[in-house]
């Protein structure tokens, strides 16, 4: 029986979208119950802040030029931890076969998991950002909404391509070691865009350049959401 939402969508699309939301909901509920991804990620983020606190030999204003880079590199490393798990558990319990049997376009698996990973990353970022600013003594001088937009765009492309490559790496030996090697070269434009955009918002770079970097992030996100959608089927063929 189609839900209220489905009435506004064409019949073929409503099935796919329902699968996406069902998978997303399942990921979120499983995580809420076990917290097996979020907990290590948050603790890792805390550890990173601590190590930086000791290792950088500078705080506050002295950190100005490097702080945006610190922030994003930390989030990407912490994020890789969570991304690695998203297909590893499916493989361990062999539930991927069940997902493949669903009569819908298989890209729903990718979209559902990518959205779930995006939510997890967002939670970790919301928790860690105050810690990064507070413990490292950097004042938050950025305009709030543009800063949030930057965080979302910088994370979205990462979540998308990271989920895709996690599906690839899950079926290899040494999956946890392979994933960073695969993701980081591909991620370089996003790193540049996210760090420069954040820097311009925090006053460490050219303040007028923000829109240009956001444009780069948007283009990157668009490409690396579209490509996985096209190619995901080939990855999960049994």
């Amino acid at each position: 029986m189609p839900s209220g939402r489905a009435r506004f969508l064409s019949p073929s699309r409503s099935g796919w979208w329902r699968q996406v939301t069902a998978l997303l909901w399942k990921e979120l509920r499983a995580e809420a119950r076990t917290r097996e991804t979020l907990t290590p990620m948050v603790i890792f983020a805390l550890a990173v802040v601590t190590v930086f606190g000791f290792g950088l030999r500078a705080t506050g204003a002295d950190l100005g030029p490097v702080f945006p880079g610190l922030l994003w590199v930390s989030f990407y490393f912490v994020g890789l931890l969570g991304l690695g798990r998203s297909f590893a558990s499916e493989r361990a319990q062999e539930t991927l076969a069940g997902l493949l049997l669903v009569p819908a376009d298989r890209s729903f698996i990718f979209v559902g998991k990518a959205l779930a990973n995006l939510v997890f990353l967002a939670v970790v970022e919301v928790i860690s950002l105050p810690l990064f600013f507070g413990l490292l003594g950097v004042p938050f001088t950025a305009p709030f909404v543009p800063f949030c937009v930057t965080m979302v765009l910088g994370t979205a492309g990462f979540a998308s391509i990271g989920t895709m490559l996690s599906a690839l790496a899950a079926h290899t030996r040494a999956a946890e070691m392979l994933l960073p090697v695969l993701v980081f070269p591909i991620l370089i434009p996003a790193v540049i865009g996210a760090v420069e955009a954040t820097a311009s918002l925090l006053g460490a770079g050219d303040p007028l350049a923000w829109k240009r970097w956001l444009g780069l992030l948007l283009a990157y996100d668009a490409l690396f959401v579209a490509l996985p959608l096209l190619l995901f089927d080939y990855l999960v063929e049994p």
Binding site: L168, V181, I188, I192, E196, A209, L216, L227
Partner: protein
């Protein structure tokens, strides 16, 4: 036949680059590495294009020959892009006084190297052959799509992080243009030669693996 043509072309390139072309006005003889740097960088990019095309073709047809081409082009391409990065670094040392410079082309070549290495890792770490071919194809496509974006973003990034040294402009006189064209041609031929040989080797490897599987499966049928 191809080997002989390549041999002549490479000899010609060496002659033109070292003896025929005049030394550069600003950099003198140290500029001569430029011919081989450009040639190897161009070939490295060409090889990666072939990897991407072979990947797309493999995903659509599932024909093993496309996978073999992808494998060969990845390995040979890694060789050429390594040469490009190393010669680029050497040239940077003499042209700009520094062993490395985060300028768009050199950086993009280095990123391309990383992507090649990652593609080879994917091939080495997947056991089942069909899956390996598919994964290598998918990653090759994704990585190739990223290359222009990497180049563009590094270029933008550079305009916001100006460095004291800038890319040395080269005034190319006609003899130098000839040397460069021949060098590029020679390296392209070398790439084709090496890739063709590697494809042939890959096919023989696969046939051998199949014989071994058959022999083991029949439990000594050929020996008895």
């Amino acid at each position: 036949m191809l080997a002989w043509v390549t041999f002549v072309a490479v000899l010609g390139a060496l002659f033109l680059a070292f003896l025929y072309a005049p030394p550069d006005v600003k950099l003198g003889d140290t500029q001569r590495i430029f011919y081989f740097h450009v040639a190897s960088a161009w070939t490295g990019l060409l090889a990666f294009t072939v990897v991407c095309v072979a990947g797309i073709a493999y995903l659509r047809t599932s024909a093993p020959s496309w996978d073999r081409l992808g494998l060969a082009s990845t390995e040979v391409g890694l060789l050429f892009i390594t040469m490009a990065v190393v010669t680029g670094s050497i040239w940077a040392r003499f042209a700009w006084g520094t062993w490395w410079e985060w300028e768009p082309r050199l950086t993009s070549a280095f990123v391309l190297w990383l992507m090649y290495a990652a593609t080879l890792l994917v091939r080495n770490l997947v056991e089942e052959p069909g899956r390996r071919a598919r994964y290598a194809a998918v990653f090759g496509i994704i990585a190739f799509a990223d290359v222009p974006i990497v180049f563009m973003s590094v270029r933008w990034w550079r305009s916001y992080h100006p460095v004291v040294v800038s890319a040395a402009g080269l005034d190319l006189e006609p003899p130098m243009v000839l040397a460069m064209v021949v060098a590029v041609l020679a390296f392209t031929l070398l790439y084709v030669l090496l890739t063709v040989e590697r494809v042939r080797l890959a096919r023989l490897e696969q046939e051998l693996a199949e014989y071994k599987r058959a022999w083991r499966g029949e439990g000594g049928g050929i020996r008895a």
